[in-house]
């Protein structure tokens, strides 16, 4: 429920819970990620040699491949989480699908951008209708569609169900798109990304690439934890707001002068000030009801 935070005698906030999405674990992980990024960038931009064929533009591969890896993993996770939600009906999976879809969309768009920026010096053009590029573009569009369904107004359960159906189809659709486009483009013998990478990668380059992939995965984990917690908080707020709205509607239906059943705070009661409605002093122990299902179990406001 939305309430004033409980205050102690000094008037300071008594924060029983965390003040954001961070925790000790994520702070440590964050520091590790920052160190990893610094080292990975050094490896990619400074210490590794330029490629024989591509020159310095190979340094974008050290960025592009980790981004692609994260994007594809996140999208796979959306599908898995959607299936699990439809099976288990657990909110945990729904929130996982939401968080990984957003991260997947950000990284897929970054994939397209970094790929295009790499393509200009390498192929001379920002875009080719290469099967993998085209399938990635379609993936981005499918994820935009998922986001649209995710942000529909209304009841969380119905939204979760709709999103799960759309999310579950993301992977099969991308697979079908990829098959169709590969087949189509193979008729024209187009080049693929793999052809332009040396088959035998110089050791230092291989290490830089693998290290950066690893750092990318750690960064994705950090983002995922925070985004998951954020999505969870948003859901709590939404459920609490629904509760409050329901309580207010009930209050309107109740006869005037009687305390509204389950009204969380005095300020929310539309009835005129009566002796039974307490003044909103900070010391009033507002009934902080933890779960949305306990509407009827809330205590009435004490004078």
């Amino acid at each position: 429920m939305i309430s004033q935070p409980a205050q102690d005698d000094r008037g300071a906030d008594v924060a029983d819970g965390p003040s954001g999405t961070g925790s000790r674990g994520t702070r440590i992980l964050g520091l590790v990620v920052l160190a990893g990024i610094a080292l990975g960038a050094y490896l990619a931009l400074v210490s590794s040699p330029p490629d024989v064929n591509m020159g310095d533009s190979v340094r974008l591969i050290y960025l592009h491949v980790p981004v692609v890896t994260v994007a594809y993993l996140a999208c796979g996770l959306v599908t898995v989480a959607s299936v699990m939600y439809l099976w288990k009906k657990s909110a945990w999976w729904d929130v996982t699908a939401a968080a990984s879809a957003e991260i997947g969309l950000v990284f897929t768009c970054l994939t397209l951008v970094t790929g295009a920026i790499w393509g200009k010096p390498t192929w001379g053009t920002f875009w080719v209708w290469d099967p993998r590029l085209t399938a990635t573009a379609m993936l981005a569009l499918l994820l935009f569609g998922y986001q649209a369904v995710r942000h529909l107004p209304g009841d969380p359960t119905s939204r979760a169900r709709r999103s799960a159906i759309v999310g579950l189809l993301v992977l099969p659709n991308v697979f079908l798109d990829n098959r169709a486009v590969t087949w189509w483009r193979s008729l024209h013998q187009g080049t693929t990304i793999l052809n332009t990478l040396q088959p035998k990668i110089h050791d230092q380059m291989a290490f830089a690439l693998v290290f950066n992939i690893f750092v990318g995965l750690l960064l994705a984990a950090w983002l995922m934890i925070h985004r998951w917690r954020l999505a969870w908080l948003e859901q709590q707020v939404e459920v609490a707001e629904l509760d409050e709205a329901i309580a207010e509607r009930r209050a309107e239906g109740a006869a005037p002068g009687t305390p509204a059943p389950g009204t969380p705070t005095p300020a929310a009661t539309p009835t005129p000030a009566t002796p039974t409605v307490a003044d909103p002093t900070p010391a009033t122990p507002t009934p902080a009801s933890p779960t949305p299902a306990s509407t009827s179990a809330r205590t009435e406001v004490q004078p």
Binding site: A148, R162, V166, R179
Partner: protein
Amino acid sequence: MFRDALAVAGKDLRIEARSRVALNQVAPFALLVLILFAFALDPDSGVLHSATPGLYWVAVLFCAVLAIQRAFAIESADANQDALRLSGLEPAGIFLGKMLAICAQLAALEVLLGLGVVVLYNSPPTGWLLLVVTCVAATAGIAAAGTLYGVLAAGLRVRETLLPLLLLPVLAPVLIGSTRAFEAARNSTPSQGWPWVGLLVVFAVGYTVFGAFGFGPLLEES
């Protein structure tokens, strides 16, 4: 289940026969799209002729979006959706029925568009068997995917913008496959077209099966 499907399909087609929206609005829109393509591309240099398969199927996809939106718009009036839920009809049957009705309307639109490209783009059809089978497979796929995403978007205020965004990326393989099949038919190399028909059939079967299962829960939500 099939009896339910025929009942729902019959209802939808009867509504269309009485309101004639597909006839009066979607069909002219189909011809309008063909004409707009002619305005955008150079009609004299043969571009229209060589691009005919692709332009034809893009036009079909646009009309399909309209037809599907219409198919679910008729349900949102007068609390029809509640009536459908309470009617005791099997959800898979309702899905198949709606899909069949959309197939019928799309088939009519495809014939019309076919006449349009023959006349307007100077593209006489060849390879009849391949053309017809491609149309059947592609239409089934479009209708199946369209009915599934249509019910998902049904009843929402944003459905007009949501449905194309959800549906068209999903229909990309259908566009690729049917265009390639049409090109093979036109180039008199049907052996290159039949594998694409295979892809279309896989798509249609997959979405029909998935749609039949997924329709029930989504109908409850709408």
